[in-house]
């Protein structure tokens, strides 16, 4: 019994659990196999069993954490280290220490201009794509939640854009938004407007946001739909008895009930918007990396890539990358606070 007492003495919750399992196992196992008669093998087997019970959870979660450590965390820290140096892409071993200079440069009035431009573009494109996307998804989910004919088809139809890639979707929309012969301008010219979706800042940003919105609205709608289906029906019945209109039921019952899901999608979309890369790159065609002739839709990710690869300045690119993380943390904190503030009146 030595191993067992030692295990218990460790005050290890896993050990307790193993013991509990053993205790549970004994009465049930007894009638089946006469364990008391053969103490030798049983001792070994139960020790193996205990080890198995204690170790297997860690074995099961290990692949995730090993992979994350190797390909996520370690590079993340390394990026932080690189951001404090001057590093050339072609000679990455020759690093020279700069301290926080790469970051100071981003904040510098003159030298940080392109960074601030990219930051501003990321924010505007992010808002232009995320907000309409989630609002439309919410409305779509509400409609899909009705009793419908052809519901299966409609659901697959709104999800279809999710199957397209960034590259394919962007290339198609580049055509549709072509200022000269694109379908969008052909339509708009009927009402006398012909925006230049490539060269002008706002039209270009709207066009890029459209690609993002088109690809993700249906996906988010289905996630909302899933959440809406688990809202208790009694709530609607009660609201209906209280004389709430359908719109009031939507705003007072549906939306508050799925608030955690809305927060989840908001966080995920924000993270996605912060990383926008392929859409602006491919939207620009040949000048891709610069994000338009005047950087009018260069995002942070694109700027990072331009610094790191075409310009070969890995240290500065790393500083931009870490700035992205800091910005994300900031946005996350704000979203968390908003979520908490919104929840407070409900509980009080």
């Amino acid at each position: 019994m030595a191993p067992s007492t030692r295990a218990a003495a460790e005050d290890d919750s896993a050990a307790h659990q193993a013991a509990a399992h053993q205790a549970a196992a004994r009465p049930a196992a007894k009638p089946l196999t006469d364990t008391s008669a053969t103490p030798g093998p049983r001792g070994l087997r139960s020790r193996l069993h205990r080890f198995d019970v204690r170790a297997s959870p860690y074995v099961f979660v290990a692949p995730f954490f090993l992979c994350f450590a190797a390909f996520g965390l370690f590079p993340l820290v390394w990026t932080g280290w690189l951001s404090l140096h001057r590093v050339d892409l072609l000679d990455p071993d020759a690093m020279s220490w700069l301290g926080l200079d790469n970051y100071a440069r981003l904040l510098d009035a003159d030298r940080g201009e392109q960074f601030r431009n990219a930051l501003g573009n990321t924010v505007t494109i992010g808002v232009l794509s995320t907000v309409p996307q989630l609002l439309m998804a919410l409305g779509l989910a509400h409609l899909l939640n009705y009793r419908l004919r052809g519901r299966g088809f409609l659901r697959v139809a709104v999800l279809a854009p999710y199957a397209t890639s960034i590259a394919a979707a962007t290339l198609v929309f580049v055509q549709l938004f072509n200022p000269d012969y694109g379908l969008v301008n052909w339509f708009l010219s009927l009402v006398g407007v012909r925006p230049d979706w490539y060269a002008d800042t706002w039209p270009a940003q709207i066009a890029i946001s459209t690609v993002v919105t088109w690809r993700w609205t249906g996906y988010n709608a289905l996630i909302y739909l899933a959440a809406m289906q688990s809202v208790p029906k009694d709530l609607y019945e009660a609201a209906s008895l209280d004389g709430a209109s359908r719109w009031q039921q939507f705003t007072r019952v549906t939306v508050p009930s799925i608030r955690p899901t809305i927060l989840f999608t908001a966080v995920v979309s924000t993270i996605g918007a912060t990383q926008l890369f392929g859409e602006p790159l491919l939207f620009g065609g040949g000048v891709g990396v610069s994000g338009g002739s005047a950087h009018q839709y260069q995002t942070l990710a694109l700027y990072m890539y331009e610094l790191g690869w075409p310009s070969r300045q890995l240290g500065r690119a790393a500083a931009v990358a870490w700035s992205m993380l800091l910005i994300l943390l900031l946005i996350g904190a704000v979203q968390y606070l908003i979520a908490r503030r919104n929840r407070a009146p409900q509980e009080g």
């Binding site: 419908l148 659901r155 979707a169 609201a239």
Partner: protein, 309 residues
């Protein structure tokens, strides 16, 4: 646990009530609005029809452009019915980019990533859902937290690791960093938490089954529908992944997305836009076909278990 994927999402009859103790009231159909108003009105059909058109039209138009000549695509107003140049364009696109190789590469990459993600996510999800061990909650929080870290932050050192290993331009450079996904772990945990009765695991333990046996004979059979959905989602995501393959692969050994970026990257007026659209069509068609066949199950999977966060 809402009805799981393969049996079809078709009729979302009343999802099981939240508490296991609550007796299931007799209901025939799920009723979203209140009372008798739960049928969609004409306005709902109009809006949903509009949404379906907006969703599908760009896909249809890709086909129109891909089957036209370059001049036809560039006329105003643009064509709205397919032309007869599809095969010619396909062969041109095939010559301009390594599309055949790209399709094969994407299949290999997405297949490997999906298989390994599903396997590891099921193991970890099971552990987080049904096993008790020290540090479980802290580790689970860590898993969720890793979802918020943009992969682009790791790209620069990752690029060095890969080139130091001599894997630049090789498929394993794309596969390895994606072997696991926090989303997958979370997804499987949420599913198994409800779908797998704890008693089942304990009973297997009592019978003396070791962990691998339990995984094989208890967890996998129960988790199979969620594994299928997760596999599909990861496959789609990996197939469509752009940034990292773009950084680490070249046009000699591309995935579909990297090949597409080369066809479309030239831009300007010198390239045949019909051929660009053909490339987009070829790169999207495999997934669209999968969606056409399995769409209901994928939708069902997303609506059934995806996010009960």
């Amino acid at each position: 646990m809402a009805a799981t994927a393969p049996t079809g999402p078709a009729v979302p009859t009343a999802p099981t009530p939240a508490g296991p103790a609550a007796p299931p009231p007799p209901r025939r159909r799920f009723r979203p609005g209140a009372g008798d108003q739960d049928k969609a009105g004409p306005l709902a059909y109009l809006l949903l029809g509009l949404a379906a058109v907006v969703s599908l039209f760009p896909l249809y138009w890709t086909f129109v452009a891909a089957s036209s000549t370059g001049e036809r695509v560039a006329q105003s107003p643009p064509p709205l019915v397919p032309g007869g140049e599809l095969w010619h364009n396909v062969s041109t696109a095939w010559e301009q980019a390594e599309l055949g190789k790209a399709l094969l590469n994407s299949t290999v990459v997405a297949g490997c990533v999906a298989l390994s993600t599903v396997l590891f996510a099921t193991l970890a999800g099971f552990a987080f859902a049904k096993l008790r061990f020290r540090g479980r909650n802290a580790l689970l929080t860590l898993v969720v937290a890793t979802m918020t870290v943009p992969p682009q932050l790791s790209v620069i050192p990752l690029y060095r690791i890969i080139t130091d290993l001599g894997w630049g331009n090789q498929l394993q450079a794309v596969i390895l960093p994606s072997l696991v996904a926090a989303f997958g772990v979370f997804f499987m945990r949420q599913f198994l938490l409800e779908a797998l009765p704890t008693e089942l695991v304990e009973a297997a333990r009592v019978d003396g089954a070791h962990s691998l046996r339990i995984i094989w004979h208890v967890v996998f059979p129960v988790a199979r529908p969620a594994m299928a959905v997760l596999g599909m989602l990861v496959f789609v995501q990996s197939w469509n992944d752009f940034f990292w393959p773009f950084v680490v692969l070249t046009q000699q050994n591309p995935t579909v997305q990297v090949a597409l970026s080369a066809i479309g990257g030239g831009s300007g007026h010198d390239i045949n836009q019909a051929v660009v659209m053909t490339g987009a069509l070829v790169g999207t068609l495999p997934l669209l076909l999968v969606f056409a066949v399995l769409g209901k199950h994928i939708v069902g999977g997303i609506t059934a278990g995806a996010v009960k966060s």
